[in-house]
Amino acid sequence: MNTMTENKYFFRPCTWIFLLLVGLTVVTWLIGMKQFSGLQISLMALGIALLKGQLIGDYFMGLRQVSGYWRWAVAIWLLLIGLLVSYAFNISAY
């Protein structure tokens, strides 16, 4: 991350990402605490996790600044996890 640029801001970009991750975590927790269930709810919780994972990959691991295969390494992993888990929950719902 470019600290020279970031110092101009009250909050660094990574701080905004951190706060967003905290907010999304609380949403996931609320889904669990409210005992929501069903395929759509599960996929929503999974989708939030994949989004959080992508934010961590891009902003915390620094892959946003990388080109080529490594730029997409975490995204591909998340996509595969998303597809496999979605499929498994889909077949269990019917």
């Binding site: 991350m1 927790w29 889904i31 669990g32 599960s42 939030i48 994972g53 915390f60 600044q65």
Partner: protein, 190 residues
């Protein structure tokens, strides 16, 4: 470096990224195995998932996310040639990692006191093995961060050479990343 300019390689030593990919593959297989096994035992998984402590899982998720954030700040500090601040951020990250270990240990203590173990049922077999496998990765990540922090305190890194800090940081973020998926999969989705 121009902030808009992209690097060919990810931050840190390339070897750690190959290791990270191998780890993610293993966890990915574990997650898929959990999900497909659950598909054949939906009632069992939903019943015993309800016995888990979601508040503890929330605190643990927040602990790891916060820890990862502190590590990001440590990397930013060393890029600014501030070894002292880098060390302090790493200490803060280690503290949050310790918080995770304490909370998770308390969860295990609760389960074991109720006579729950790997043989109790399929859900607990997955829950205990998956979370303990991740627990061991947190321990390993903390060992790496301790080594990086000690070297940072000794002035072993600077703005021009801080590959070690980025290497440790990348591994630690992987530990966080895995938990980010594990949390909803095991504690929430039903």
């Amino acid at each position: 470096m121009n902030p808009m300019e992209k690097n060919k390689w990810p931050p840190g030593d390339l070897v750690i990224w190959i290791f990270i990919m191998a780890e993610l593959l293993v966890f990915g297989i574990f997650f898929a195995a959990y999900a497909f096994t659950r598909a054949n035992h939906v009632e069992l998984f939903n019943t015993y998932q309800a016995t888990l402590d979601r508040n503890a899982a929330l605190l643990n998720t927040l602990a790891l996310i916060t820890s990862s954030y502190f590590v990001v700040r440590a990397v930013a500090a060393i890029k600014s040639d501030d070894s002292k601040r880098c060390f302090q951020w790493l200490l803060a990250a280690l503290f949050m990692g310790a918080v995770f270990l304490v909370i998770k240990s308390m969860e295990y203590q609760h389960h074991f006191s109720q006579g729950i173990n790997l043989s109790t049922n399929t859900f607990y077999m997955f829950y205990l093995s998956l979370t303990f496998f991740h627990f061991l990765h947190v321990v390993l990540g903390m060992v790496i961060l301790v080594a990086v922090a000690l070297k940072a305190r000794a002035g072993g890194y600077c703005a021009q050479e801080h590959t070690g800090v980025e290497t440790g940081a990348s591994y630690w973020h992987m530990v966080d990343l895995v938990w980010i998926v594990l949390f909803p999969l095991v504690y929430v989705m039903k």
